[in-house]
Subunit: 319 residues, 2 copies
DNA sequence: TCAAAAGTGTTATCCTTACACCCATGT
DNA sequence: ACATGGGTGTAAGGATAACACTTTTGA
């Protein structure tokens, strides 16, 4: 890029100007278990599964899919490319690595095999993202004052104002209200403010925020995946990839709430789902739900073709 | 990926398992001139600007930005990563290349410099995507029958039905209505059906569809950029990156219509823009508009911070 | 009987859409 | 005068949000 100022080459496949770099794949694999949104992690060190980019497969997608299915032992429902990371010093390493990250949705069955792999609730890494039980105390008690302090360290008045405004928008301070889709912006703001471990490498380490760090920039990648999934469930029927073949409407609602990190209005949720004809009754009922038996539903695969655009809109939050 | 079945490495930076590959960057640079949505192309061969990935820059984004600004001679307003392509045989070449593609928005000024670079309307490559003058004749006259024929070549009844259904949804046949966001799906369907030059490499070449081909898979990348931009203008105020500093509301509307490929309802468009407080009056008027002088507006940069989420929603089409 | 969850019905509100109409300028 | 584009108002329809209430099971 640097020196090629005058003549971008129309076809530079195999050109001498290209530099060879290492490429690997990183997967954000998501499942929902017992109402918790989980990501597959490796080891106690808290890393996302990753592997070297292999040249064998016809496409990136198929290679990733094959690898993941071998890892987890069962098929991946949905795959989507997230982002390609190539910033210098990503891993605090001299070697330049490009990582192509993917989001994969699955059902977490028969995966307990290895002790090295574990499904962990993603709220272990982002405790401020879970608003299902109301606004988490950590927001007002810890994040807000720290971000306020950071804002006030800014150079001039404009910078200080700008910092606080960004923080307030991202975290919903000053009566602004929470927007669950801003997961990545929030993480990047905390990083910029030096409030997460990954952002304070070498610098003075304040006592850390709640929320576990991950290896290298994996927490940022996980945040990217969460944000993408939270926007996606609103206009594409992808939740079903995380559900068992049959389920009750409440189970479906709990899964959506787990992903979105907020509660939704029951009746309106049900109406939305049913009027969009996303599901059909199986005729069976589930009696083990603690109350009145619930009708069981299955996803109508027909809509995948017909409404490849349609989606699972979320109704407004309930208090 | 292939062999690493049992132990995804937690940190494999510089691991022996990583393979070195060529990496380059490809940019979809967009500007709107005289009501036409344009992409920057290289040479008569119809390629997107591309260059080798350089290791010098701190981030991919900044590297791309610097390179593009040197190319075009003026600043790039907005940059966004599109997709990373790494399928085998992308360029009909034995060498494996990974291309990281970007979408960039600019204003096309002072760019006429080199004859090798040219802004071309993207509808030269996708004539079926322009519905501003009504449904293009090419849809019913050429695309529909060809896709019908392709569908009927399918193996069994289910496959034939599925093919036609996908085509009908993508192109809005059978009373379904046009959805301008499906640009990429449409191109990929035509590719799959062997109806575009790029998809018929080596096979029998039918007389080609209208719409110019591009080098390698660049037309697919352009389609990716168009689709992304068409969805983006509906919820983020990115159109302004393509506008001059001051503009009339009709100019703004024409730019949106150029990108979306369809007309929008004038009054509702204006109300949307104004009630979202995206613009403010400059106090001046433009008298060279052919009718009553129009108020001039400028973008309210304040909303960029305040409503990083807000956007330019499109009202329904007008006949 | 009570708790818990499944379901049904109805109303108020907002946003989108669509239509109708008037204003100011150049030719 | 008329064509062109600028600009305002308002009513109809649909989707969303919010609330109240009934039903069916297990403990």
């Amino acid at each position: 890029m640097q020196h090629d100022t005058s003549s971008p080459t129309e076809r530079n496949r195999g050109s001498d100007q290209s530099h060879d770099v290492k490429v690997d794949l990183i997967a954000v694999l998501v499942a929902v278990t017992d109402g918790e949104p989980c990501a597959l992690t490796i080891d106690k060190a808290h890393a996302l599964p990753s592997g070297p980019f292999e040249l064998g497969h016809r496409s990136l997608q198929s290679g990733l899919r094959a690898w993941v299915e071998r890892q987890t032992g069962h098929p991946l429902g949905y795959i989507e490319q997230l982002y390609t990371f190539a910033d210098r010093d990503r891993a605090g390493d001299a070697q330049r690595v490009i990582s192509i990250s993917y989001l994969g949705l699955t059902r977490e069955e028969g995966t307990e095999g290895s002790a090295r792999r574990r499904w962990r609730s993603w709220y272990e890494y982002f405790p401020w993202e879970d608003h299902r039980g109301g606004v988490p105390a950590v927001l007002a008690d810890i994040l807000a004052p720290r971000l306020r302090a950071w804002a006030e360290q800014g150079g001039d008045a404009e910078m200080r104002h700008d910092r606080w405004q960004r923080a307030a928008i991202a975290f919903g301070f000053d009566e602004r209200g929470w927007n669950e889709e801003l997961t990545l912006q929030r993480y990047e703001l905390l990083y910029e403010a030096g409030l997460v471990e990954e952002g304070t490498r070498g610098r003075e380490t304040e006592e850390n925020l709640p929320g576990r760090a991950m290896v290298a920039d994996h927490r940022r990648i996980l945040a990217t995946g969460i944000a993408r999934l939270r926007t996606k469930i609103k206009y594409r029927p992808v939740v079903f990839e995380l559900m068992p073949p049959v389920f009750t409407l409440l189970q479906l609602q709990r899964a959506v709430e787990a992903l979105a990190g907020r509660l939704v209005h029951k009746q309106n949720f049900r109406r939305l789902i049913e009027q969009q004809e996303l599901v059909e009754e199986t005729g069976e009922t589930a009696t083990d739900t603690g109350g009145r038996p619930a009708k069981l539903f299955r996803f109508r695969h027909a809509v995948l073709a017909e409404r490849s655009m349609a989606g699972t809109k979320l109704p407004q939050s309930r208090p």
